[in-house]
Each structure stands twice: as C-alpha cells, then as structure tokens.
Amino acid sequence: MTTISMAKLRDHVEARKREIGWVDDDASTDALRNKGDNRTPEKRDSLARIDARAIAAGKKPTRSYY
C-alpha cells in the first residue's frame, strides 16, 4: 500500500494542475460530471435523496445529473 498525507497529495495535485494549466471553475468541473445517461434507477434514487437531504438542511447540494 502506498501512503501519502492529504497535505502532500494536495501540494502535488495543485502543482500538477498549475503545470498543465488546469483551471478549476464551474465549466471545467461540469465537463467532468457524469451526465446521468447510464445511471441505474437505484443510483438516481440515491442522488435524489442526497439532494433532498441537503436542501432540507439548508445546504447547497453538489450538482449531479440523474
């Protein structure tokens, strides 16, 4: 097993993102999201429940397609 601290992982990934010119913004994040076409009914239900829980608690849900 390879062990790494979250801090070292963060430093490495942030450095690599800078090197490749990756910009974390809404558009790039959304481009990486599964668009939901191949989700199972169970997974769609699960994501809907998570969204409902977040909204009921006054939290912003993580955007997902289902």
Binding site: T2, W22, A31, R33, K35, R49
Partner: protein, 180 residues
C-alpha cells in the same frame, strides 16, 4: 480548488469509521467511483455520493453508526445507504462484489492520511484511470466525461507505474492511447 470544507469534514468522520473497520477486519474500506476521483483530483470533479467497497456489511454498518452516520430509511429495499447528519449533502453507499472484479493489485491501494493516524483508502491512480477508460469504452460518447476524468487523473497522478497502468487499462477494455 481545494476539497470543499464539508466534504473534508465528511472524510474525517469516514476515516474514524474506517479505522474501526480496519482494526476488526484487518483491511480498510476503499472509496471508489466518483468519490475517489473527487479526492484524487482535489475537487476538480465533485460528487455527492461516496461508493464504498467494504465486504463485511454488518461490520461496516456498526463502524459507520458508531462514527455518527445514520442508515437511510428506505422501506422495501436492501438498506446499504448511509449519511452523516452534520454533512447532509453527501451520502455513502456500500457496493457489492469484488474491487474491480478482483483484477486490481491491492498492494497498490492509496492510503491517504488525514488528522494524524486516521486515513482513507482509495484505489491507485492507475486503477481509477483504467476504470474510467474501461467505462468510456462502453459509453463511447465523444465528449464522455469519463474520458475527461481519466485524462485529468493521468495528468495529476502521483508516481504512475506505466506498465501496471497499461496492463490494467487493457484488462478493463480501455485504450491507453486515448490518454494522450
């Protein structure tokens, strides 16, 4: 982009449950799927649900509940979903079967320490890239987010073993050349 604060908080709670699971079972649960990609890309991709590979369902439930997670109340279904009341925007779901159908090398699992000794475990970058490329081979849509996820993982990965990566991509039915 750093991981969202509440997602990091959820991981800390999960790490407490994983430590208890590992103490009893001798191995840690493994975060797979979108949750693993969120962690490995440091939030470039985000997911509200964490799929978890942990073969002992009863032990997983005990450890999660002891760490403050709640079991989802779903009548008429096999109950395998959990959430933490302090982090309602996220859910945890246990998946069945073997990790990557038994094809991955468990010695390459990635243990990520948070808060001292507590840790979460994900598949290796190589296995996650292979998984995404394999799913892309089935999906085949030109703008497939799965391919984009694989390419980003390939570019930010820590210490890739290209020989292992190529083998795993082939095993998953993907195309290594698509990473370029």
């Amino acid at each position: 982009m750093a991981l969202p604060e509440d997602f990091s908080g959820l991981l800390k709670q999960a790490a407490a449950a994983f430590a208890a699971y590992e103490a009893a079972a001798g191995y840690s649960p493994v975060i797979v799927g979108g949750g693993a990609i969120a962690i490995q890309t440091l939030g470039a991709f985000m997911s509200g649900d964490l799929d978890l590979y942990a073969p002992n369902d009863d032990l997983l439930e005990k450890c999660l509940v002891d760490a403050g997670f709640k079991r989802e109340d779903r009548q008429g279904r096999l109950l395998r979903g959990y959430y933490h009341p302090d982090y309602p925007a996220y859910g945890i779901e246990a998946i069945s079967g073997q990790l990557f159908d038994g094809r991955s090398d468990h010695s390459r699992l990635l243990r990520i320490t948070i808060d001292g000794d507590r840790a979460i475990t994900t598949p290796s970058f190589e296995d996650m890239i292979a998984d995404r490329l394999g799913q892309h081979a089935v999906d085949r849509s030109p703008a497939s987010p799965l391919l984009q996820q694989a390419r980003l993982l390939f570019r930010v990965a820590v210490a890739l073993d290209l020989g292992y990566l190529k083998r795993r991509v082939a095993e998953e039915g993907g195309s290594f050349e698509l990473l370029n």
